[in-house]
């Protein structure tokens, strides 16, 4: 089973929930940080990193001799990664999304795939858990290709095959967030009972609903704010899987970089129950029918 821990709003507790789930999961998991723009799961899981592999995206390299300036590449490129200015052909590698349309369409075969480094894939162990994270190169803007590469790494053997996977997803509802949850079997949405939490929860719910995956909600800092998130969940049929209280000992453990399920006894019990809830959700028919109401 693949569990993606996501949220519309940032800072609601995705990493806290991901690390705790990994620590109480009944069998050793693969914990994956797919928030490649600012990965932080390692700060809590303290993995021993044993491998660090660069990740690349394919970008066009143009043979100026073969190029006839026919403009087929620059016309098909949706991102203006290739420009033709009079007789001058230029590539803008940082604009390229690596789709390969240019070298596919070039009638002169003047374009070949080169590469640009997107970032790194780091892997190792944290206790019984395997640990994998993507880390985007500073200055790089395109995270989904690196995320896809991290997912390829997960499918490449490395002893991950029989394990459940817990994905710490990036916040938001744009391409990176969709990329992180699209292969999951269950999506856990972490939110907080504030107007911000509610607004972004509803966005995430709408963005992910077309994927037809079972979704449930973890409410963090459950004692603050209003009841609006609860009302929303009830109205739209979102199961509330767990409520993490707004409590000093939890905040202190978090601030020390500890995994709250390991450091706070009541949290261990809460996350063990949450594992059961997620497994139940996994067995349920998908939420695809909710799409039209979302």
């Amino acid at each position: 089973m693949i569990v993606a821990v996501a949220s519309g709003k940032g800072g609601t507790g995705k990493t806290t929930v991901s690390a705790s789930l990994a620590s109480v999961w009944p069998s050793p998991v693969v914990a994956v940080d797919l928030d490649v723009e600012e990965p932080n799961l390692h700060l809590f899981m303290n993995p021993d990193i044993s491998a660090q592999d660069p990740s690349y995206i394919e970008i066009p390299e143009i043979d100026d001799e073969k190029c006839t300036r026919c403009r087929a590449c620059t016309d098909i490129c949706q991102f203006k990664a290739i420009g033709i200015f009079g007789e001058v052909v230029m590539t803008f590698p940082e604009m390229c999304h690596g789709c390969g349309a240019c070298w596919t369409i070039c009638p002169e075969k003047a374009i070949t795939p080169g590469k640009r480094e997107l970032g790194q894939i780091l892997s190792g162990r944290s206790g019984p858990s395997a640990f994998v994270m993507g880390r985007l190169r500073v200055g790089e803007a395109m995270s989904p290709p690196l995320m896809r590469d991290v997912k390829r790494h997960l499918n490449s053997g490395n002893g991950y095959a029989d394990r459940d996977i817990i994905i710490d997803a990036p916040p938001g509802v744009s391409c990176p967030a969709i990329n992180a949850v699209m292969d999951a079997d269950v999506i856990v949405l972490v939110t907080e009972p504030t107007p911000f939490g509610l607004y972004d929860l509803a966005l995430a719910q709408q963005a992910f609903a077309p994927l037809g995956k079972p979704m449930g909600v973890v409410i963090n800092r459950a004692d603050i704010g209003t009841r609006d998130v609860y009302d929303h969940c009830q109205k739209t049929g979102l199961t509330i899987l767990a409520e993490i209280p707004y409590q000093r000992d939890i905040a202190e453990a978090y601030a020390k970089g500890q995994i709250i399920a390991a450091a706070v006894p009541s949290m261990r019990a809460l996350f063990e129950t949450l594992v059961g809830q997620i497994k139940t959700l996994h067995g349920q028919p998908s939420m695809a029918r909710e799409v039209k109401h979302a």
Partner: protein, 122 residues
């Protein structure tokens, strides 16, 4: 003399200079000898999610203009215009196209040697 392109908010010489290069409404291409001009629409660049400056540079290069007068040019567009051999006069703003051309002809528009806008992705 070489043709001059001016980023413009409208299709004639009395239109305001559009301070944006990449997302300008269009370009007036002027033959400074006769002051004859044509208008080239840049709407296709305005709607782009990214790369508007690069596409606008392609459009200007295709007109054969060798001089561009505009407000702000980002780094990629600057690189592209340089590659196309187009001289850039920046910080031309709050003028009509006609006034901008007159000012350039009077030698009051310095040639830019670096982009004056950070662009949207860097």
């Amino acid at each position: 003399m070489e043709k001059i392109a001016v980023s413009s908010e409208g299709p004639d010489m009395d239109a305001r200079v559009d301070p944006r290069f990449g997302r300008a409404a269009g370009f007036i291409i002027i033959d400074p000898d006769t002051m004859a001009f044509e208008y080239v629409d840049n709407g296709s660049s305005q709607v782009m999610a990214q790369g508007a400056g690069i596409q606008a540079a392609e459009i200007v290069a295709a007109t054969g203009a060798r001089v561009l007068l505009t407000g702000f040019v980002g780094p990629k567009a600057f690189q592209a215009l340089n590659a196309a051999g187009i001289t850039i006069g920046q910080n031309v703003d709050n003028l009509t196209v006609r006034e901008a051309v007159q000012r350039f002809q009077a030698g009051d528009v310095p040639v830019a040697d670096a982009p004056n806008s950070r662009g949207h992705r860097s």
